[in-house]
């Protein structure tokens, strides 16, 4: 009679593999990894990998999607529950994102690392998540006073600005993530509400830490 796998043991095994995979991606990049190395680091038998993941790309995809779900819940939740309009919501989302980055730096680095190397399915999943963030920024076009000719591409540019700060500045670790929110709010607000409104963001007091 075959034993039914213990769900808790299965969950722990999957978490160990994901954690090992994430550590190896961060240390060496996605390109050179082998399944055997992930299993060795996770202290899981090689044959067990296929019980959880079809491939390394699938492992990346699942790891990314779990991080993205947690991130979305925090960030979009903050946007929706902020009082005020788009600008207040975006600011709340920005600080929520900063809090997530500070709480889970490796998960965030993993999500942005190997952005183009992890295969088509992973890229599609990432693209979908990024477009949700672009939607949030792009809602600035509907604000009173926003120029009506601004295309969605401007919101993409804002996302790119945020990404560049994440990769370059956070990678250096010199300043905490929430310190960048005012400058990134400046970048986000300026195209839609103008320089004067964007300038206000630089001196807007941050919310108290939870």
């Amino acid at each position: 009679m075959s034993a039914t796998p213990d769900p808790e043991a299965l969950r722990a095994e999957r978490e160990a593999l994901l954690a090992a995979f994430r550590e190896l991606v961060l240390a060496r990049g996605f390109d050179q990894l082998k399944v055997e190395e992930v299993c060795l680091r996770a202290e899981v038998g090689r044959e067990r990998f296929r019980e959880h993941f079809a491939s390394l790309e699938d492992c990346y995809l699942q790891g990314f999607e779990e991080t993205a779900r947690r991130f979305d819940a925090v960030v979009f939740g903050a946007y929706e529950s902020a009082t005020g309009g788009w600008r207040e919501g975006l600011r709340a989302a920005g600080y929520a994102a900063a809090g997530f980055i500070e709480a889970e730096p490796d998960a965030v680095r993993f999500a942005v690392t190997s952005m183009f190397a992890a295969g088509d399915r992973a890229q599609l999943a990432r693209e979908a998540q990024l477009q949700r963030i672009v939607d949030l920024i792009d809602a600035g076009r509907r604000q009173s006073g926003a120029p009506d000719w601004l295309p969605r591409a401007i919101a993409e540019g804002v996302l790119g600005s945020i990404y560049q700060v994440l990769v370059r500045e956070l990678g250096r670790g010199a300043r905490p993530a929430r310190d960048f929110v005012p400058e990134l709010m400046y970048v986000a607000v300026r195209p839609y509400l103008g320089h004067a409104a964007a300038l206000e963001e630089l001196s807007y007091p941050p919310p108290p830490r939870n």
Binding site: G157, Q164, V165, F180
Partner: protein, 221 residues
């Protein structure tokens, strides 16, 4: 006996005489052309020396006489692409003129280059971030090299005293992301249609939207 006229000289008809150095350089260029096509179409990870040699109609021996390995070939292809792009862009810059006008001309030239050579654009904008640490370092050095040019825009900005310290980094990030998305979605074929958006991303933070639009209009006349 008097010497033959030059038109009677061997190899004179339709074929230039190349020095050995020029032949070696041309051979290297052919391999790099093949490498760009392979890496852009297959990605760095999947692009092999065999693929490159086949694309270049060359040989493994010739490949390895120029490059130690795949990574060295990639780096050389990247460096050549960036160098040629820089040379081409500099040639299109207006003599004198304001920094905003120069940046706008550079952006227009860059978009034109991307439309003409989509594979090279993909190599630089996308694949350089997948080809290992040295390629990533080369990519980041390319971006760092652009910061002083953007910083000079502050002199033309009515907001210069108030601009955040990070505006060059965020502007660069926005422009790079915008170009990457165009390449990923196969949307880089119409440079004139893309220029207003890219101009707003790059010049808007320094000049504001009205001045950016005016500059675009002035360029069009």
């Amino acid at each position: 006996m008097p010497p033959l006229p030059a038109s009677f000289a061997p190899n004179a008809v339709g074929r230039e005489r190349l020095s050995r150095e020029e032949m070696v350089e041309r051979q290297r260029d052919v391999i790099l052309d093949g490498a760009i096509a392979v890496f852009a179409r297959r990605g760095y990870k999947a692009g092999t020396v065999g693929n490159i040699v086949a694309a270049a109609k060359s040989s493994g021996g010739t490949f390895y006489s120029h490059f130690a390995n795949r990574e060295e070939c990639f780096l050389a292809a990247y460096e050549r692409t960036v160098r040629r792009a820089r040379e081409r862009i500099v040639m299109t810059l207006p003599r004198g003129g304001s920094q905003p006008a120069r940046i706008l001309a550079a952006l227009a030239a860059l978009l034109q280059l991307m439309a003409e050579d989509r594979l090279a654009a993909r190599l630089v904008l996308i694949e350089a971030q997948t080809a290992g640490e040295r390629a990533l370092a080369a990519w980041e050095a390319s971006l760092d090299g652009l910061v002083p040019e953007l910083r000079r825009l502050r002199r033309a900005s009515p907001f210069a005293a108030e601009l955040p310290e990070s505006v060059e980094i965020t502007t660069l990030g926005g422009a790079v992301w915008y170009l990457q998305q165009r390449v990923l979605h196969g949307e880089s074929g119409d440079p004139e249609a893309l220029l207003p958006e890219l101009a707003e991303i790059v010049l808007g933070p320094y000049l504001g939207p009205e001045e950016t639009v005016a500059l675009l209009a002035h360029r069009a006349t």
